[in-house]
């Protein structure tokens, strides 16, 4: 398959970036999107040019490192997958593909398609945990948890912290990400103990870091590779107002 690629190139955060067009041919439909970029980079190195920088590590949709804005959609045209799980068979030969980094103020560009998502870590550091030390905890089976709750908690805990929800949102809101952690922990008895304090601290930190407000457009849910549900945001809001009232 042959493609025309329009890729965002930017040396670093301080300088302006621009789109550069590349032609790439003979790509196998079984090749993944990132393997297609690997091949582009090999050809650039051949021509003594700088390869395109992008993040990836596990290449199986679980680490959350990869994330490209492809033809106007975070993680590309396929649903419920990460960029590394996208395959070229989803495109038509001859097609033009536009590739950009996540664009959101709290995710400054480092270089080309690589952005700094450390603000997500800061939100978790503010309270995304159960405050237990190593050792001295009760036997695992001493706390029975209804399977339905455990399953819902697992659904929320599946978030990989990729940031597609923020990139998809016109307000650059991080509500889906934050709500996934809040919901995961507040659905479990272990996490209930600190539920109020947690939601307050996480939401306040999110606001301080410059993420925008949630206006319920649902763009985040539509683009989330792990299908994190908007019901988590509803749960977060309930928790947050309850915390504010108490």
């Amino acid at each position: 398959m042959d493609f025309t690629l329009k890729i965002w190139r930017q040396e670093n955060a301080a300088v302006k970036g621009k789109f550069v067009t590349y032609q790439i041919n003979d790509i196998s439909p079984d090749s993944s999107f990132l393997e297609m970029l690997d091949q582009l980079n090999e050809s650039l190195i051949d021509k003594v040019q700088k390869p395109v920088c992008f993040d990836s590590d596990c290449r199986e949709g679980i680490c959350g490192a990869c994330g490209l804005y492809i033809n106007g959609r975070p993680h590309g045209p396929d649903d419920a997958i990460t960029t590394c799980q996208l395959h070229m068979r989803k495109f038509k030969s001859g097609q033009t593909i536009v590739i950009e980094p996540w664009r959101a103020k709290p995710f400054p560009i480092i270089k080309d398609l690589v952005v700094d998502r450390s603000s997500f870590d800061k939100i978790i550091e503010a309270g995304g945990y159960v405050s237990v030390n190593t050792g001295g905890v009760p036997d695992a089976n001493s706390i029975p948890i209804p399977k339905a709750n455990a399953d819902l908690a697992m659904d929320a805990a599946a978030c990989i912290g990729c940031g597609a929800c923020v990139a998809a949102c016109k307000n650059a809101s991080a509500m889906l990400f934050v709500s996934a952690k809040v919901a995961h922990l507040s659905l479990l008895p272990q996490g209930r103990v600190e539920a109020k304090e947690r939601v307050r601290k996480m939401v306040d930190t999110m606001d301080e870091l410059g993420f925008g407000n949630c206006t319920n457009t649902g763009a985040c849910e539509a683009e989330c590779p792990k299908e994190i549900s908007l019901t988590n945001i509803a749960r977060l809001n309930r928790e947050y107002y309850a915390a504010k009232l108490s």
Partner: protein, 645 residues
């Protein structure tokens, strides 16, 4: 001369760990604040150790090359984590887990270490549940278990097909809590490039900030390496793209012995290779072998028709299929250990019965779907089936999956004693980076257990036995000449890499190395092939250092430079792996020497001559490394030929 002292505590096996803890030196709370610990790696081992050390009151610095500690390679583990809880009441115990692990490792691990691992395994599950890890549960609300290869009991805890992710996020949350408390500082997108040794003790590291290229110095009272395994020596493996051996390799060059480098594990159930542009291999969790049946056609003609696409696997009659694992190993069937299952697949494919490209066998769920219903299978493996379909464009509910073995895990690693300390005082190694508990073969769901055992429950104790003597040691200024020297060496190496300005990309060398490793140091090895491998690797090293091309420059984000440093180290480690495989004239676990097998093609150990840990000592760039041997003494387990029939 390096002396391998395992420092195994006296006393009966079951009491060694308790006795050790009762007698070891501890650091009092006021002194902990004066002590700094560096942890390289934020996977299960590194994150759990760092969080626990922070909770105890030490000042901790954590390093990882990813942009966040939450993305360490542990996140990709799918299947589960073992623990001797015996919740299903099916006869499990600490002793049985200990026994299974020693046997699974083909009697090439230390009894005392493995016993301790089994002993603390239950605490791990308690700890993770307390953190909010959403393990799978039964309708009664209690934890669910499944079984894994090499065991006849169900002792594996899991969180859908994302166990590693959930365990790592648990450890990451504990680590984040310590960041919030100020006891722990994170350096993400930062790579360790060298170890700094002062007066024979590990006192710091040199790092590179990957975003800016800045070289930095960090000093501490102890350094913990938790940098994971070295499976990427083979280029294609199930490891993450960035997984590397460089941190461990620099420790080796600074005096830490490297043990059993030849022990690499090949996982039997990976998605087969599909093209030369492929960047990595995807694992299909071993848990699938609980319900999937592995087969190839009984007749070569059918196999050929299937490869040509003129026959569909679903059209092949039951009696024309060869369920070769069930046939050869009736007692364990599809659940034989990984090395056995992998070699059996290779044997069938080499004999001409392979499907797909010829290097693939079937993993079939039709029986399980008929027996249990599609819903049950979907609940158990839904996300794995989906992942398979995304990659291959085939629906495993309707046609059998195709699988083939791939490099997955490395049992070898930095040599450590019972206290997880290396041959360099003050340098500790935990998780996959050390060689410790799995012998010549690791059982499924035991790596997560070991990483968390080391990090939560072993290292936080044993490191104090060392640090207790360091409370009067003042913080080391990073202006110390040892730092100057180490930084100079690193800068020179980076400059040298750029100065080559050759014609070939880093990846092209990595692929060449990988091909040699897979062909000669892979699933089946022999003397001639290993010697050939060493010659070829020496040549690859020469070519690399004279013809590699690295674009861009050093003071920016430069993935080609990062890869170049890693590949340079992989080349050297590859050579050591071949040397180690050559000296070990026996077959054991993941190390299969074709010259040493039984008539039925099973691995043939030589306990009289090779019942030792082979630990290599670095002697300088132009000299051959020296092999030291730590004899393995079995006092509690009767050493037998492994038998899964």
């Amino acid at each position: 001369m390096t002396d391998l002292k395992a420092k195994i505590p006296e006393g009966p096996l079951a009491e060694k760990w308790t006795r050790f803890k009762g007698n070891q030196k501890l650091v009092n709370p006021a002194n902990k604040r004066k002590l700094d610990v560096i942890v390289v790696g934020s996977g299960l081992a590194g994150a759990s150790a760092a969080a626990s050390l922070g909770e105890l009151g030490f000042n901790v610095k954590v390093f990882c090359y990813q942009d966040s500690t939450r993305r360490a390679h542990s996140i990709a583990a799918q299947g589960g984590i073992n623990a001797a809880k015996n919740y299903p009441n099916d006869g499990d115990s600490v002793w049985r887990l200990f026994h299974d692990t020693i046997k699974g490792g083909d009697y090439r691990s230390r009894e005392a270490n493995v016993y301790r691992l089994a002993e603390v395994s239950g605490n791990i599950i308690d700890q993770c549940v307390a953190q909010g890890v959403p393990f799978a549960r039964e309708y009664g609300g209690l934890l669910d278990n499944r079984s894994f290869g090499g065991a006849q009991v169900s002792r594996t805890f899991y969180a859908r097909g994302q166990t590693g992710q959930q365990l790592l996020l648990g450890a990451y949350s504990a680590l984040s809590r310590q960041v919030n408390k100020g006891s722990l500082e994170v350096f993400a997108r930062t790579e360790m490039l060298d170890l700094v040794v002062v007066d024979g003790k590990a006192r710091g590291i040199i790092t590179r900030d990957l975003a800016t290229g800045e070289i930095q110095r960090h000093s501490a009272h102890a350094v913990v390496v938790a940098s994971g395994g070295y499976g990427n020596v083979f280029f294609l493996s199930t490891n993450a793209m960035g997984s590397n051996a460089s941190a461990a390799w620099q420790c080796f060059k600074k005096g830490a012995c490297f043990a059993n480098p030849a022990y690499a594990q090949i996982h039997p159930t990976c998605i087969p290779v599909h093209g030369s542009f492929q960047s990595k291999l995807t694992l299909m969790s071993e848990s699938l072998r609980n319900d999937g049946r592995i087969w190839v056609p009984k007749n070569k003609e059918d196999a050929e028709k299937i490869r040509k696409g003129t026959l569909k696997p679903t059209d092949l009659k039951e009696e024309d299929r060869d369920y070769y694992l069930e046939r050869r190993y009736p007692a364990f069937g599809n659940l034989v250990p990984r090395d056995v299952a992998s070699r059996a697949a290779k044997e069938r494919c080499d004999a001409g019965y392979g499907v797909g490209t010829g290097l693939a066998v079937y993993l079939d769920f039709a029986d399980a779907i008929n027996r249990l219903g599609r819903d049950v299978i979907e609940a158990r493996y839904g996300n794995l089936f989906q992942m398979y379909e995304k990659i291959t464009d085939e629906n495993p509910y309707e046609t059998p999956m195709m699988i083939y073995p791939a490099i997955h895990y490395t049992m070898g690693g930095i040599w450590v004693d019972y206290e997880l300390q290396t041959t360099v005082p003050g340098l500790f190694a935990i998780g996959e980076a050390n060689f410790s508990d799995h012998g010549a073969n690791r059982l499924g769901a035991s790596a997560l257990m070991q990483g968390l055992a080391d990090g939560y429950f072993v290292l936080p104790y044993t490191i104090q036995n060392y640090l207790a003597d360091e409370i009067k040691t003042p913080r080391l200024e990073t202006s110390h000449p040892a730092f100057d020297e180490a930084e100079k060496a690193i800068s020179e190496r980076i400059d040298q890499l750029f100065s080559i300005q050759g014609t070939k990309s880093v990846d092209s060398f990595h692929k060449r190395l990988g091909a040699v490793m897979w062909d000669f140091v892979g699933m089946a090895r022999n003397k001639e092939g290993l010697q050939q491998a060493i010659d070829q690797i020496v040549q690859i090293k020469k070519d690399f250092w004279s013809d590699v091309r690295i674009p861009g420059d050093k003071s920016e984000l430069n993935p080609e430079l990062e890869k170049a440093g890693r590949v340079a180290d992989f080349i050297e480690l590859g050579e050591l792996m071949a040397r180690d495989a050559l000296q070990r004239e026996e077959s054991c676990g993941g190390h299969f020497r074709e010259e040493y097998q039984t008539e039925e093609g099973e691995a043939l150990r030589n306990d009289d001559q090779y019942r030792y840990v082979g630990a290599w000592e670095y002697k300088g760039a132009d000299q051959e490394p020296v092999l030291h041997k730590e004899d393995l003494i079995f006092e509690y387990i009767q050493v037998k030929q492994r038998n899964y029939k």
